[in-house]
Symmetry: C2
Subunit: 280 residues, 2 copies
């Protein structure tokens, strides 16, 4: 019998705790602190739903799901540093550098990213599937970095809508594109990898615009991070360029286009997950 999303998330948290249970140094403690702070685990959940929709056996889901969460957390640890976004709060708790200091947080971010690759390399999938996972993960994680670099570079500047969307596609879209690609990769339908990657990227842009909207008019206690930071930091955002209402309409169109394409592929579980996200 197939797992429900709650069952998946419960098991995922257990595996994540297990993965981080042995800490041999302060940096590994900082890594565990950051990644075990409760979060939505949206990226692992997406890998699970898309793989379930495509009949991938659940034993293959864990490694990419853990890898994507470890990497995502590592990139957040670096983003939050005083030298970058200077965020004291993450997931409702003090950021890694606030608790452990800047030196440890720099290494903890590195450690989480590298650990992500190590976990992925331990997947029980066959070598051909693993090669595809490895290629896709290393390409998309590098894109996340370029997106973050562009974000820092554009801050205080005046980039065009196209430039901001390209930055979103990389910074936020790339990792979702890995999540979406896990379905065709692990079901060995390699001819669909590119199309699914693109859908993940568009979904990521939707997700980032929603994040902008929440930063403009959200509730700090719900978000677990400060509100109004983008404007305060002079961050270029879609909402800043298009305004709040037009941004919402634009984002809505993006999500609908992704859901329609997923419906064409009969990925029912994933469609439902995306629609539920939109309602939040």
């Amino acid at each position: 019998m197939k797992k429900t999303s709650d069952e998946f998330l419960k098991e995922f948290e257990e595996l994540l705790s297990q993965e981080m249970s042995e800490t041999k140094c302060k940096v590994e403690e900082a890594m565990a602190y950051s990644v075990l702070t409760p979060g939505k685990r949206l990226r692992p959940l997406l890998i699970w739903s898309i793989c379930t929709d495509m009949n991938v056996s659940s034993e293959y889901v864990w490694h990419p799901a853990l890898a994507v969460e470890l990497f995502h957390t590592g990139s957040l640890v670096h983003d939050d540093l005083p030298q970058i976004d200077d965020s004291p709060l993450r997931r409702g708790k003090p950021s890694c550098h606030i608790v452990f200091g800047n030196d440890t947080a720099i290494l903890a971010g590195d450690g989480l990213m590298l650990r992500a690759f190590r976990v992925l390399s331990e997947s029980p999938a066959n070598p051909v599937v693993k090669e595809q996972l490895f290629r896709c993960f290393s390409r998309t994680t590098y894109q996340v970095l370029v997106g973050e670099a562009l974000d820092v570079q554009y801050t205080g500047g005046d980039p065009s809508l196209g430039e901001v969307l390209n930055m979103y596609a990389k910074k936020t879209g790339a990792l979702f594109s890995f999540c979406f690609a896990c379905g065709p990769i692990m079901s060995e339908k390699f001819e669909f990898v590119e199309r699914f990657s693109k859908l993940g990227e568009v979904f990521g842009i939707w997700f980032q615009i929603l994040d902008d909207v929440k930063d403009t008019c959200g509730d700090e206690s719900k978000l677990g991070k400060p509100v109004g930071k983008d404007v305060a930091l002079g961050k270029p955002t879609v909402t800043k360029i298009l305004g709040l209402e037009k941004s919402k309409i634009f984002a809505d169109k993006l999500l609908k286009s992704v859901v329609h394409r997923l419906e064409d592929f009969e990925l029912i579980l994933t469609c439902r997950l995306l629609e539920n996200l939109a309602k939040r």
Copy 2:
């Protein structure tokens, strides 16, 4: 006809420049600056020599050789940050953060490490070999991070000789263990991977002790980095524990043991390379 080491290094520099030629953001400029500053390229050279000794076709050498140099440079960029070792000089030139600022240097270090994985994932080797390369690279790069973390943690403290050697085995030995393992992995003699990894680790400990010795009595203009930093920073080193003379004798024994084992395997080119290193 087989290449000489000079021919290899010339071609390696060209490929590295080519890899870094397109820069889409300031972070990529910082990455190129750091990795294209002339260095000894010892890790790529070791991969080349061991692969040549084991008759691996040269087209398979480039990807792991580029990956190891990219990763190594990325880890140095983070080590040099004011929050970690605070080194203003690297390879005789101002460190990355001095030229580009701390924010860019943090992201450039990330970028170099991630780019290393991307380059490795593009290797033309067969999926089974690539799986082994991927496993070995992700395991050893994570060890480098743990070693660096222990180094920071031990600074100002009083670790035992065993603890310092374990830290060296990770911080410096792990990446050399990847270099040594490339020989058996790429010649598909997988049964030797573990033994070669261990030799690389011991070689790395030798290399790190030599680095300590140079820090104690070296020439700044030759080293391209400040001298006497370890003591000034309160770094735990083997020379601090054993004294200069005993450290040299200990290191000498380590190198000889590695060379003897390599002779058993008839890895002539690599033996000669190691012996030349010892003479410097």
